[in-house]
């Protein structure tokens, strides 16, 4: 359950105690260079042509040049459990798309990527869509706030978690057309059906922004992947999250997502 870690400002406590005596600085570490890996990011949504497969390569941590190496000329095919087959075409370098594919709830989707003979496969099931019923915004009342700073707002989502069904959710937040940072996933272990009121953690908006929030129904493998990616970055047990991609030297994920989207204009609140 993510909400717990996100809300527990233990770091604030450490910060207060050691404010005067601690020291944070950027250091140059001599890090081993890992073997270059293939990066696959692939989503099929439940609307026509709303899909993408991005192919690129990893680079060393200390390599601060712009951009990543993209992979062109790969063979990208998505099939479903009814035998339909969709071939993706490369729109821009490393970005593949299929305008005729529309994801359908209940179907399993199979991805095959062939990069000069090296094959990566994956599968994902499209779970039933859960409607994002409404959004609300709330002024953030944070300790040590400077009253002269412009106010910031957080968003809460309202949706109905289907009872007797194991749901997994991903929430994406956008501002001015750009996706906000952070991976938000949720399972219904502690919801068990009923109305869910769930805050969009760490994503803040300013007055008069338009918040666009997506509620995505995802499968368990995607839940585990994004849950792990969020907590594996600088934790005590860092590592590459378990992926649903099958192949050698590959990182990333493949997801079939049912999407519900709402927007909200952030009106000033007292």
């Amino acid at each position: 359950m993510m909400l717990f870690q996100k809300y527990t400002p233990l770091y604030v406590l450490i910060a207060i105690i050691f404010l005067m005596i601690s020291c944070e600085k950027v250091v140059e570490l001599d890090l081993d260079d890992a073997k270059q890996m293939l990066v696959v990011e692939a989503i099929v949504h439940d609307s026509l042509g709303d899909n993408f497969v991005k192919l690129s390569k990893t680079k060393p941590f200390n390599d601060n040049s712009v951009g990543y190496e993209t992979i062109s000329g790969a063979l990208v095919i998505v099939t479903d459990n009814l035998g339909n087959s969709f071939t993706f075409t490369e729109a821009t370098a490393g970005n593949y798309n299929c305008p005729t594919l529309e994801g359908i709830t209940g179907r399993a989707y199979f991805l095959t990527v062939n990069v000069s003979g090296k094959v990566v496969t994956a599968q994902s099931v499209m779970n039933p869509k859960v409607n994002l019923d409404s959004l609300s915004h709330h002024k953030i009342d944070r300790p040590f706030n400077d009253p002269n700073e412009p106010p910031e707002y957080s968003i809460r989502t309202y949706f109905f978690d289907t009872p007797n069904y194991t749901n997994y959710y991903r929430i994406k937040a956008f501002n001015k057309g750009v996706q906000e940072k952070g991976y938000i996933v949720l399972n219904d272990d502690l919801l068990n059906g009923g109305i869910a009121v769930f805050p969009v953690f760490r994503v803040n908006y300013a007055e008069n922004d338009t918040a666009v929030i997506q509620l995505l129904s995802i499968d368990e493998a995607n839940f585990r992947y994004f849950n792990a990616i969020a907590s594996s970055q600088n934790g005590e047990v860092p590592g590459n999250p378990e992926t649903n991609l099958v192949g050698e030297d590959v990182v990333g994920y493949f997801g079939a997502y049912a999407k519900s989207e709402r927007r909200l204009i952030i009106t000033p609140l007292p």
Binding site: M2, T8, P9, F61, D63, K181, Q233, G239
Partner: protein, 786 residues
């Protein structure tokens, strides 16, 4: 049952008595100044070299000898030796009070004679710390802490900068059993691990067992830290206290009935938040940040044969921002003990123990709170049977009822509904017998065996998981139905071969079972870590350890030297899947991986015990590795607590009777960690790419601390009105000042590293090092007693 048992033993004794007429000398040993029980006093028979005994945990001793006249000597480090001529033509009871002899030079020489308990005793891999010894060692913020001193000993490693957590011989921090008056303390630290919960004024002593663990202890793989609270002064009322930069302490102790009954009450509270009140900022002003400890103990001697002890501990950390957020956590323990003497050879102790830990987080702004706790009830029976001069038998039984409350969310507002992770229940029980036997002048051994059992009981829904960690099946158990039972035989053995009065070789073996496991994602431990019981999925952890040691005293026991080597094999150890959710996860058992571990090392220890210059050097060369099928492709790799070199140097020098200086220096190899080796982008954000778990290292850690203690004059010069001469007169109030500097040469030891995108330019990724102490950190403490 006990009656019939003692009857059987009685028959045994009668049989021996018939063979040769023997009589028993027994009694209690106390400190003459304050009436505290003296634990571990050596009792020797001058006429029979090599024959003797050692007083037990409650200061009781008993020795059985053939009829005759003997000179009995009572010897204890730092006390004057008492000799007593016993005419053993009948059983004799002799209660002894020993006088502290640290100021009398002649006495020091007398006791020096037989200060070779470390050579004679079968115990190895055991460290004892007396509170009196630790007060002058410099520590962080001037807060005296036995747990910090523990970390300076061989085989014991600090869990991190400033942390009171520790690792023993490659074990994890949850593999240490920390007992306060027999009650397990589930989270022994305050303020996120920087201070231990043990208020030095309330503590009498600490014993650490890191190998050859005696059969009466069980439940953790790596070590037992047995901490005893003071009983309270049974002679006169006393107050002890101190004022430091971080906290103040006050202890009151005294007799309830002189020489029969005493009490102690001891409190400590930090006042960091008082300084915050001075701030102009409303938010800082309303910040709550403190911890406190309260220790209470009383004992009453009903008769020569019956004595009752009641002790308790309560401590809490509080942290919050008014009206927004509140986080508090702490332990509570209570122990009721009844000492009973069945006869002059059979000493019994019955304990009832309660232990509790919880944390509570109120997120007032979001309208919900989180609560988690663990609670134990223990019933324990231990018997010491002082069979004869060569055999000392111990046996007993214990049963613990555990209740685990992993977590509950209760909502006060609209956001987030109520939910609760099911409680878990377990019964941990054990039976043991152990004998300390002296075969001849050279050979002696302590051998025993323990049977331990853990039964997980309902009610509840129990899941089974597949190899991916996905719950595949659910079984419902009713209240008190058995879910699963584990049990095992735990042999314990220590063997001692005394080469001469100053040299011995010892070896030991022990097997330990651990049925409780701490879920923690930080090495030092967080207050929100929860304990998990062994279950249908989680098997008990098992460790086998062998150790071999050489012990030598030099210069009339002024120097103690030891070298020990150990090998420990561990089974069913626990680690987590990458990115596991371990807090408030009802299916947390699916996030666990099970593997094995091995730890081996060589420990050197040289200590100077006497004189104006005292201290020690300890050095450990060690390796700790683990193996999990799903991590690093199943290869063995270094555990995070693997440190090749670990060196501690402690020196204390008495410049004069009133002025002492001290210094500590530590150096150790950095922890094994996982640093990223590459990066890539997911959803427009940079993600670190990792290769091997624990494939990198922190830089080496080193630090120097200095301390200075200035004792106030404990006398004043008064003119005697009769003689007109000036005379020394004792002051009622004794006081001292303690000054210390932590991290003298301002070494920026890293506390953590984070790897992140640069704030201005997300294309650039950078490694950011956090060091807690950038400057030398001075502290000052004023101590008093009257």
């Amino acid at each position: 049952m006990l009656k019939s048992l003692s009857f059987t033993l009685f028959l045994f004794i009668s049989a021996t008595v018939l063979a040769q007429e023997k009589f028993t000398l027994s009694g209690n040993i106390k400190d003459a100044s304050d009436g505290e029980d003296l634990v571990g006093v050596t009792i020797l028979v001058k006429e029979l070299p090599g024959v003797g005994t050692v007083a037990n945990l409650y200061g009781f001793y008993s020795i059985t000898l053939p009829k005759g006249k003997y000179t009995i000597q009572y010897k204890y480090l730092g006390y004057k030796t008492i000799a007593f001529v016993a005419d053993l033509s009948k059983n004799i009871k002799n209660n002894i009070q020993l006088v502290s002899g640290s100021t009398d030079l002649n006495v020091v020489e007398i006791i020096a004679e037989k200060e070779n308990q470390n050579i004679r005793s079968n115990e190895m891999s055991v460290e004892k710390i007396s509170i009196k010894d630790v007060s002058s060692i410099p520590v962080l913020f001037g807060e005296n802490d036995v747990m910090k001193v523990l970390q300076l000993l061989p085989g014991v490693k600090s869990a991190g900068e400033g942390s009171s957590g520790f690792f023993v011989r490659g074990g994890n921090s949850d593999q240490n059993l920390i007992l306060l008056d027999e009650a397990p303390v589930y989270n022994a630290s305050h303020l996120l691990g920087f201070f231990s919960v043990f208020n030095p004024d309330a503590i009498k002593d600490l014993t650490l067992y890191k190998g050859g663990i005696p059969a009466q202890f069980a439940g953790r793989l790596s070590s037992v830290v047995d901490i005893k609270m003071k009983e309270g002064n049974s002679k006169k009322f006393k107050a002890i206290g101190g004022v430091g930069i971080l906290s103040s302490r006050l202890t009151l102790e005294g007799p309830i009935v002189k020489d029969k009954s005493s009490f102690i009450i001891s409190g400590r509270r930090t006042y960091f938040d008082m300084f915050l009140k001075l701030s102009n900022n409303e938010d800082i002003k309303n910040t709550i940040l403190y911890f406190y400890d309260l220790n209470l103990k009383a004992n009453y001697q009903f008769s020569d044969k019956n004595r009752l002890f009641i002790s308790g501990y309560f401590g809490r950390d509080n942290f919050g921002f008014a009206n927004r957020f509140n986080f508090n956590y702490g332990n509570a323990t209570a122990t009721v003990r009844w000492n009973h003497l069945y006869n002059d050879k059979l000493f019994s102790n019955t304990s009832f123990i309660y232990s509790y830990y919880n944390y509570k987080i109120d997120i007032i702004a979001a309208g919900f709170s989180i609560n988690s706790q663990i609670q134990d009830f223990t019933l324990k029976q231990d018997v010491d049977f002082f069979w004869n001069g060569n055999n000392k038998l111990k046996f007993g039984a214990s049963a613990i009822h555990h209740t685990f409350y992993p977590g509950e969310i209760s909502s006060t507002g609209e956001s987030v509904g109520d939910s609760k992770i099911e409680n878990r229940y377990g019964i941990e029980s054990g039976l043991y017998v152990s004998n300390e036997q002296k075969f001849n002048e050279s050979w002696s051994a302590t051998y025993g065996v323990r049977y331990s059992n853990f039964t997980q009981i309902g009610p509840g829904e129990f899941y089974t998981y597949n190899t991916q960690g996905k719950a595949t099946d659910t079984t419902v158990y009713k209240e008190n139905n058995v879910v699963v039972t584990y049990h095992g035989i735990e042999p314990r053995l220590s063997l001692n071969y005394v080469l001469n009065e100053s040299t011995s070789i010892k070896t030991s073996y022990n097997r330990m079972y651990q049925y409780l496991h701490l879920l923690s994602n930080s090495s030092g431990g967080n207050p929100t870590d929860t304990w998990l019981s062994s279950s249908n999925n989680v098997k008990p952890e098992i460790a086998d350890q062998v150790a071999l040691g050489y012990f030598k005293n030099f210069k009339n026991n002024t120097y103690e030297f030891s070298v020990e080597t150990y090998y420990k094999a561990m089974q069913n150890t626990i680690d987590y899947r990458t990115g596991a959710e371990i807090t408030l996860n009802p299916k947390v058992e699916g996030e666990l991986l099970y593997g094995k571990g091995r730890a081996y090392g060589l420990e050197f220890y040289l200590k100077r015990k006497k004189g104006v210059f005292t201290g020690w050097i300890s050095y450990t060369l060690a390796r700790t590795e683990v193996q999990y099928d799903k991590i690093n492709k199943g290869a063995w790799y270094p555990a995070k607590q693997d440190r090749t070199h670990d060196l501690s140097f402690v020196a204390m020098y008495d410049i004069s009777e009133r002025l002492k200086i001290s210094s500590t220096f530590v150096f150790y190899t950095g922890n094994a960690v996982t640093f990223p080796t590459g990066k890539y982008v997911i959803d427009g954000q940079t993600i670190n790419l990792y290769s091997d778990r624990n494939g990198s290292r922190f830089p080496n850690y080193h630090r120097l601390d200095l301390g200075l203690t200035l004792e106030g004059k404990n006398y004043k010069m008064v003119t005697n009105p009769e003689t007109g001469l000036k005379e020394k007169k004792d002051r009622r109030i004794h006081s001292s000042w303690n000054f210390s500097i932590y991290n003298v040469y301002a070494r920026e030891n890293p506390y953590s590293y984070s790897f992140r995108e640069n704030e201005e330019n997300p294309i650039i990724t950078e490694a950011v090092q956090l060091s807690l102490f950038k400057y030398p950190l001075p502290a000052i403490t004023y101590n008093f007693n009257f």
